[in-house]
Symmetry: C2
Subunit: 591 residues, 2 copies
């Protein structure tokens, strides 16, 4: 009952009007002319809306089934996965040395958004493979890369990440999975991992598990942890598949959503594994992938909200109910469409202005990753590392909130599974949890990222906002953007100042405000994005020849964000400035 | 995997320390001494935690099944329903003339909260019966009352409300179900109704449907609508069951939650119905029940959040993960419990301070209904009518938000159905939708209730806050409550002023801020409740002899609410004061 249309025009606006990719000095960006990116995005959009989207409800309804150790994915997934591979989509931003197309991560992000909007659970099979590909690409030996990467680039083999155990998720120092060194240089991996997305399925010839485990001699806590490549089928010297490895799926979980993806309990019973990267430095190896993986989850937050929004918008235009208080808008019909009602519009504008702002922030983050990887830009790397917990935590919280808001537009029908809106809310919910629950993102932001490199990156961020505001001050049309942005940035500085002054006395004063700070900064980031987009839209209007309706809607949507979302900044600051006292007042026993 | 413990102490505190029931002049309240209410609440709590709660997950997993026109409820529901009836619980606050126990609505509310917390879907069978009972009790003829009420008071027969049709929910003027008058004074009812909770099931001998339909001669829109009693089995003159009526269940819906309750499509094919109340005044008859029904849904909002909170709290105390940043709290264990972490506490305190505040507001609302019904207090009736959309809309939004927050405490386990936290979130979601979606509550509040009776009730509310603050000014300990309450009440007045001044020019300026106003007022109400509770707690501490730990925790929790929830008031005011302009700026086609 749902549909999806890829937002190609909005993406083109971001790539060309806002980020000005062809004018960038990031290697590879000059080739991204509008004709080329449009062709790629249109093609990806077709696959998303025609092939992946129709399977979204199927995946939710049928889920994955475990029988005799084999997981069956929902009907149609197999054929769709073949189409995805044949189109070369998984290879889009992979290294040409291993069969990739070598496009920037930014393009992979744009295409990824479409696939997630259309079918989040389905896209995880390739998304996790991309994460494992990156880990091997950065940390693997030449032989490991040659063995695994070509097959993973094509998604003939898929990948997984194995971190969590029943008794430890965030606190990986408690890990029990063991790695015993063997005479041939390999390891025997033994232990149980849980919540392994795409841990077992029928879409690929082989599954390459990346497993964190403790090898002897590493010491206590996370220091003893190493990362291992543990393939489902061992790979022979000639690249053919060999023996089945000693690992199996214990069960698949019944979850709130993303039913189309198999979330597995994985049992490793002396399975053969190969060290990836340095011994006892597995956490570090995982963390180099973290920004990318977390931005990918932050993308899920708004991508699902985008799909939910599109359907809520259709419903609001179609459903006739009540009359506009200012006079009938559909006088010949039995009632007016929902969209005439101010509160329905408030809801839709909340969604629209969030989704478009989050897309801009995510694309910007992706371009910073390209700058970091492709031209070694350390400032870009520092900045994206600062933005990552915001993109992950803020965008997934808001994305879920907006999917719930979209569901609300449907009234009672929103609660009925048949209409598809419940699935968006249920699917979006996981993004707040996995890849580091959002409380951990907030902790990472406040306890690590703010102070990283002597606070250089956060200072750089404030400087960037200041410069933008200064450069724009002449343009009266921009006052509705720059004035609230300036105020919000000032409030954010006040929050940072509060942490510095009071966190010294008691670190809880900072940690008790961490979640609010993550949201506060999220609004400042989206405020900055909207100011940039408005500036680009005015520039395009001044130049003439563009799609005037689109550009004016862009500006109006931005004005909504500044007027209606940014006031949350003051609330978060007020909460932060109350410190830890009321948060920590009760003894645990007094709860 | 979940548990529930009835919050008897907190309820006793509300009844006796805050509402001072035995000192009230509301008929029946003098009998509610602490020993009696404690006995009732303890007994209800046992049924809730021992019988209803264990069936909550069963109901969610099994759902209801429709086979050959018969609906089978989940395993165990039938036996539990018998126990509920045998305990006389459905009769608690019903009229003794028809077999009820005649206790105040307030006591029914307290007991109802427990049953909802324990098993929301199960409790709907009796909850809807109570609504139908009230409608017949107020609008029925003596003969109708004698025929239906005794069996409904005992829940031998259950009841339903039939309003919605496929093409109309909020806008009931579009209704198509027809009522054709018959020679014997009855009507033939023909049409389709959807979203009928408990429309068909195996828990009762008979089901008494109350159906809105259009009888000839009533004119267009809602003016032509009348209310009818349409029993599943016709009732013979001697009270025995007669022929099966011409109505049937078309299907049961697959929903996001409340799987244990059968949500039915009901088909009426010339079914025999009897006019209830006046012809063509069915909407009015429905609306007299509305406050009660909506408060009942507002109660669901926080009651489910209470259950979710209890489990999240257990998990936060049990789960060992990470170390307190201020030093290990569980040095002999492998890690500290989650509850040591400031952000986990922020989350738990958000939940706790909301739930306890909402309970106070709901109990207060229930006492106003008693004052209105039992002593004809018009001011109380006006006030509760003003508070109703807030109790329904604000509390269900926040209740869902808090159930989601509780789920978040569990990390990945929160997303796995087996742990039960997903169910709380999925169940709580419906309360934002049914009995008037929350956008409609906001509309009702701003477009009707604020101006009702010349604004008398909202003025009375402000006066009440002012008087409370004035009466408390001498007590320095209360400053942390009265200062923020005063500011919040001022902000609420500013919002009302904005509506008055700008809504004249364009009503959209008020409607675009209606949702924010509902939340703003919700926080002011809970702020007032917390100030009252703090005052009562200080009084009890001063008097001595009470449970000091409980009373001090109460005050600390209230201080959290004032410090950390009330700052939302300023945000809502700022959003309201931006008016309709950015909300209505886009043409529908430009979205």
């Amino acid at each position: 009952m749902t549909r999806y249309t890829a937002p190609v025009q909005d993406m083109q606006f971001l790539l060309h009007d806002v980020l000005n990719v062809t004018g960038s000095d990031i290697p590879g960006y000059a080739d991204l002319d509008a004709g080329f990116t449009s062709a790629v995005l249109e093609e990806a959009g077709k696959l998303a809306s025609q092939v992946l989207e129709p399977l979204n409800a199927v995946g939710d309804r049928e889920g994955c089934v475990l029988e005799n150790g084999v997981v069956r994915t929902p009907r149609g997934f197999d054929a769709a996965f073949r189409q995805l591979k044949e189109g070369g989509w998984p290879a889009l931003d992979c290294d040409p040395e291993y069969g990739g197309q070598g496009l920037p991560y930014l393009m992979g992000t744009a295409v990824g958004e479409m696939f997630v909007s259309a079918n989040m659970a389905f896209n995880m099979y390739q998304g996790l493979t991309h994460g494992a590909y990156s880990a091997i690409h950065v940390h693997g030996t030449a032989a490991q890369k040659a063995t695994y990467l070509p097959k993973m680039v094509s998604c003939d083999w898929t990948g997984t990440m194995n971190l969590t155990e029943p008794h430890c998720g965030t606190d990986l120092g408690l890990m029990r999975t063991k790695a015993e060194p063997q005479a041939d240089g390999s390891y025997k991996i033994t232990g149980q991992k849980i919540f392994i997305s795409a841990g077992e399925h029928d879409l690929a010839e082989n599954i390459i598990h990346l497993v964190l485990a403790k090898a002897p001699g590493g010491g206590e806590g996370t220091k003893g942890v190493s990362l291992f490549i543990v393939p489902k089928f061992l790979v022979n010297a000639d690249g053919s598949l060999g023996a089945r490895n000693a690992l199996s799926v214990g069960k698949i979980e019944e979850k709130m959503g993303i039913h189309g993806n198999a979330t597995c309990v994985m049992n490793y019973d002396g399975a053969t594994g190969y060290l990836l990267g340095e011994l006892h430095k597995g956490m570090r190896a995982m963390f180099t992938m973290m920004n990318e993986a977390r931005i990918g989850v932050g993308l899920q937050g708004y991508a699902v909200a985008e799909a939910a929004y599109q359907n809520a918008l259709d419903y609001a235009k179609d459903r006739l109910q009540g009359r506009a208080v200012t006079g009938a808008q559909n006088p010949t019909g039995p009632a007016d469409p929902l969209i005439v009602h101010p509160d329905i519009r408030r809801n839709l504008m909340d969604q629209k202005s969030f989704v478009e702002g989050a897309r801009a922030l995510t694309f910007w983050g992706a371009s910073l990753i390209d700058a970091s990887h492709r031209k070694g830009d350390a400032a870009a790397e520092g900045l994206v590392s600062l933005l990552t917990p915001v993109i992950k935590g803020f965008q997934t919280d808001k994305g879920f909130e907006m999917a719930v808001a979209a569901q609300q537009v449907y009234g009672g029908h929103g609660y009925i599974e048949e209409w598809g809106m419940s699935q968006f809310a249920r699917d979006a919910r996981i993004a707040m949890i996995y890849e580091g629950a959002n409380g951990i993102q907030a902790l990472d932001l406040v306890a690590r990222k703010l102070a990283a490199d002597g606070g250089k990156h956060i200072m750089g961020f404030f400087e960037m906002v200041k410069t933008f505001v200064k450069d724009t001050e002449g343009d009266e049309r921009m006052k509705g953007f720059t004035d609230p942005l300036k105020q919000a940035s000032k409030d954010m500085q006040a929050a940072g100042m509060y942490f510095m002054q009071n966190g010294m006395k008691n670190p809880n004063n900072a940690l008790a405000g961490s979640y609010d700070f993550m949201h506060l900064m999220g609004h400042v980031c989206l405020g900055l994005m909207w100011a940039r987009m408005a500036k680009a839209a005015y520039a395009a209007l001044d130049q003439g020849g563009g799609d005037t309706d689109f550009l004016q809607a862009k500006i109006a949507t931005g004005r909504y964000y500044m007027a209606r979302h940014l006031p949350a900044v003051g609330m978060h600051l007020a909460r932060i400035q109350t410190g830890a006292e009321t948060v920590m007042a009760l003894d645990a026993a007094a709860f």
